[in-house]
């Protein structure tokens, strides 16, 4: 197979040795059909066993391999080497602490994810015998886009508000809250509202919109957040008018 030599500059950070990250260059003979992840795997297998990064599916669905490639957060299994020149710069996702090399610490996101109650809260429990909830294709369409999130965290890496203040619940978690809110089977919106409509929730988002631009799954978190803002604001104002703004 024909190959092309590409210089891959990888941000390395080995917590036991390094006080701060540095770039290390590798020359990789890349095949035409390779994605950036293939080049990293080549480095790992042939050049340097000490390079650490996460990956699993190689088909952009597990969400493990988010990295910043030439300045943009993206999935390394979805981005082809052939789309770059002779030099590719690979860094860990921005806005997260670096655990090691390209591996970031994502505990914060995992907490945020569960804080928005991302599960169906039905009006009443339904027995298995009574079968499925009916949901038309149109009703499905209303929230389907927001179910596509693979938790790759590219959006968090692109969102400056999260970078400036990591108390922000952030795009993917808020989009997920919206996914359930918009599901015809769900009535849990008010249960999610305390977190979603808090200072740290939707109101911390200033609609930079970068999250949607970098999202590899077209989840459109920016849109989900704006739509949530709208319904939440209406809720808040009607609540204020009718009940003196309880919360």
């Amino acid at each position: 197979m024909e190959t092309r030599d590409v210089t891959i500059e990888v941000l390395r950070y080995r917590p036991e040795q390094d006080s701060e990250p540095f770039f290390q260059s590798y020359t990789v003979p890349c095949e035409e059909h390779w994605v950036v992840l293939d080049a990293l795997n080549y480095i790992k297998d042939e050049l340097d066993r000490t390079l650490s990064y996460r990956w699993s599916c190689h088909m952009f669905v597990c969400g493990s391999c988010g990295m910043v490639i030439n300045g943009e957060p993206m999935l390394s299994c979805k981005k082809f080497v052939r789309d770059f020149g002779d030099k590719i710069r690979v860094e860990p996702l921005s806005n997260f602490p670096i655990e090691r090399d390209l591996v970031i610490v994502q505990d914060d996101f995992m907490e945020k994810l569960s804080s928005v109650k991302p599960y169906l809260i039905p009006k009443e429990e339904r027995s298995i015998e009574s079968g499925e909830y009916l949901q038309t294709p149109a009703q499905l369409k209303t929230y389907k886009q927001y179910t596509m999130c693979i938790n790759c965290l590219c959006c968090y890496a692109a969102c400056p508000q999260y970078g400036l203040d990591d108390k922000f619940i952030g795009p993917a978690a808020l989009a997920l809250a919206h996914r359930y809110n918009a599901d015809s089977r769900d009535v849990g919106r008010s249960a999610r509202e305390d977190v979603v409509a808090s200072h740290e929730g939707i109101w911390e988002c200033s609609f930079v919109g970068a999250c949607s631009l970098v999202c590899p799954k077209d989840v459109e978190p920016a849109g989900a957040i704006q739509q949530t803002k709208f319904t939440s604001a209406i809720d808040y104002i009607t609540g204020m008018v009718s009940g003196g703004g309880k919360k």
């Binding site: 197979m1 080995r14 917590p15 036991e16 059909h33 790992k44 297998d45 042939e46 066993r49 000490t50 390079l51 650490s52 990064y53 996460r54 990956w55 699993s56 599916c57 190689h58 088909m59 669905v61 597990c62 969400g63 493990s64 979805k78 082809f80 655990e99 090691r100 090399d101 591996v103 610490v105 994502q106 995992m110 994810l113 569960s114 109650k117 991302p118 599960y119 169906l120 039905p122 339904r126 298995i128 079968g131 499925e132 909830y133 009916l134 949901q135 038309t136 294709p137 499905l140 929230y143 389907k144 179910t147 596509m148 693979i150 938790n151 997920l176 359930y180 599901d183 089977r185 769900d186």
Partner: protein, 587 residues
């Protein structure tokens, strides 16, 4: 060493592990459950499943049909009591998934939609576009967050099972980001660690599918059952092995050779028209389709490509609208990775290693012969798949048996105390730890990627779609050699923080053990059945081999193989008929 106590430890947080954890939490909130996974739950490979999950819901369908399809599809190497339980339960489980929010695709009426799948007499595969596993996994994971009693250890690698007095009493885990090892004391352990496709070079399986749980149980003395049955999926993209779901054919896609001819009609699957017809042509079972490809290749009627010969998957007649709605991921994958847009072009595909029918031997309860040890999902072999799994049965399997294993584990732990031999327990755990530590000290010369490549190559040689005695023998010998050389493996990364070199080394150890059971079981089975096809024994041999093979661990030698009878309740072995003959067929 630090000790964590729990009642039930679950190894693996894929579909099976999550379903099991939820079942424990629902069954009894007082039972502590610890869900351990080497990757974050939503990274588990269940997310890669595309096509769907089969379950009888429509009026034209019956449980009996699903039973017959599954038993026949598995070439009668299935345990029929388990299959019967499975087909009964799966509609309920899929409905439960719906109640938990799974975004199943719908009919206009609002009811869930179903699509046809290979080897199924009736359309019965529930699907969520072409990302069924992904949606199921995320639904399960997100639902699991509702239960405060489910505790998790994300990115913890389980290295060993702790066994004493003929019962399991915990696992040893390594926190990947610190390298720290901890003993998890548990009264019961459920292994849900997924498959082992990575023992082959060309596979749809993700990097994490290295058979760890299988190896763990096997080393602890639990036999691995029916390991010779490795499923090749007929339609993987060349170069990457990325899967194009059977749903492509379910929706009406066809397979053609280099002359544009639908060659499946030459292999007992025809006639080609009218199309689509269930259980015929492209909707035949996977083993038959992959085997037909092999023959076409031998006849020189396939298309050469830089990554081996291919056939063409033609979906152009489905039209853009249908493809976008039902197969959006397939379109994206084909365009990106094969440079072919299925709306306008033929997509090159070839058979690719996909699924392990075999696994940790369990009974219908999900229990292994070792007290306190359960297994479910792809790592287990409860024998509903037999010699060939029907597409869309495994997503159902991990729900049904994940839940069942969990319920039984709950019952078990309620009547069991922690093993009380503190010294022995400690010593065992320390032992496990020193084995890992020894790797850091090793002055070996063998490289992990090197051994892995050799292992992959020999597995493809000897345990491919068609097998012969000589080839399997060579593979057996080679794996034995690799296993010996592995003792001399060199760790190049000595960090304790997120050391992926170490992980790959441990995983390779598991892959070698599992590979050996595949090769030796294949060698011993001198017949052709389902996915195990031998050119030197072309016929199915029910007299000698209507039995499960059981591979037992031997620390120094090759695995020992013995056999276990298949459970037959109502369907006597018969010929598997597809194509025209399948129409009026009872079984």
């Amino acid at each position: 060493m630090e000790i964590i106590e729990t009642d039930i430890a679950i190894v693996g947080a894929g579909g099976a592990g999550l379903r099991a954890a939820i079942e424990v939490a629902e069954a009894d909130p007082n039972v502590k459950v610890l869900l351990i996974s080497k990757v974050y739950p939503m990274r588990s490979h269940t997310c890669a499943a595309e096509g769907g999950a089969a379950g009888v819901v429509k009026d034209n369908d019956t449980l009996e049909y699903h039973f017959n399809d599954t038993v026949g599809g598995g070439d009668w190497l299935t345990d029929q009591d388990a299959v019967e339980y499975f087909v009964n339960e799966i509609p309920k489980e899929l409905t439960r998934m719906e109640h938990w929010g799974c975004p199943w695709s719908r009919e206009d009426s609002g009811k869930v939609a179903v699509r046809p799948f290979g080897g199924m007499k009736i359309m019965r595969t529930w699907f969520a576009a072409d990302k069924t596993g992904f949606h199921m996994l995320h639904t399960l994971f997100q639902t699991s967050l509702k239960y405060p009693t489910i505790e998790r250890l994300d990115e913890y690698y389980v290295t060993d099972l702790m066994v004493e007095d003929g019962r399991v009493h915990g696992v040893v885990v390594m926190e990947i980001r610190t390298g720290k090892m901890t003993l998890v004391r548990a009264k019961a352990v459920i292994i849900c660690s997924g498959g082992a496709g990575k023992i082959f070079p060309f596979t749809t399986n993700g990097a994490i599918k290295t058979g760890d749980g299988m190896a763990m149980a096997y080393r602890a003395g639990v036999p691995l059952k029916d390991m010779e049955f490795v499923q090749y999926h007929p339609t993987g993209l060349p170069a990457t092995g990325i899967l194009l779901t059977e749903g492509c054919r379910g929706e009406g896609g066809i397979l053609v050779n280099k002359d544009g001819y639908r060659f499946l009609q030459d292999y007992g699957l025809g006639p080609p028209d009218p199309w689509p017809r269930l259980k015929a042509m492209e909707l035949g079972p996977r083993d038959r389709l992959s085997q037909a490809f092999w023959h076409e290749q031998k006849k020189g009627r396939t298309i050469p490509s830089p990554w081996g010969d291919v056939m063409h998957l033609d979906m152009r007649h489905l039209g853009e609208k249908k493809i976008n709605e039902r197969l959006p991921l397939i379109r994206e994958l084909s365009r990106l990775y094969a440079g072919a847009d299925p709306v306008h072009e033929l997509v090159p595909v070839r058979p690719v290693v996909h699924y392990m029918m075999g696994g940790i031997h369990t009974n219908i309860d999900g229990a292994t012969p070792l007290a306190g040890l359960y297994a479910a999902g792809e790592c287990a072999c409860v024998s509903i798949n037999g010699a060939n799994r029907l597409g869309s049965n495994s997503l159902g399997e991990l729900l049904v048996f994940g839940a069942r294993a969990a319920r039984n584990a709950v019952d078990y732990v309620k009547s069991t105390e922690y093993l009380n031999k503190v010294k022995t327990i400690q010593a065992q755990a320390e032992d496990a730890q020193s084995r890992v530590k020894a790797l850091f000290q090793s002055q070996g010369t063998e490289s992990v990627p090197g051994l892995r490549k050799e292992l992959n190559a020999t597995m493809e040689e000897g345990c491919g779609i068609y097998r012969t005695e000589a080839e399997i023998k060579a593979t057996c010998d080679k794996v034995t050699e690799i296993r010996a050389r592995y003792k001399d493996v060199k760790l190049e990364d000595t960090s304790t923080v997120f050391n992926t070199d170490l992980l790959q080394t441990l995983e390779l150890g598991c892959m070698i053990e599992v590979a050996q059971t595949v090769a030796v079981s294949a060698f011993e089975r001198k017949e052709s059945r389902g996915a195990h096809q031998r050119l030197d024994y072309e016929k199915r041999d029910d007299v000698n081999y209507l039995k499960h093979s059981m591979a037992h661990f031997d620390p120094d030698g090759d695995p020992r193989i013995d056999y276990l009878d298949v459970v037959i309740t109502k369907s006597q072995p018969a010929e598997r008929i597809y194509g025209a003959g399948a129409e009026g067929q009872v079984v």
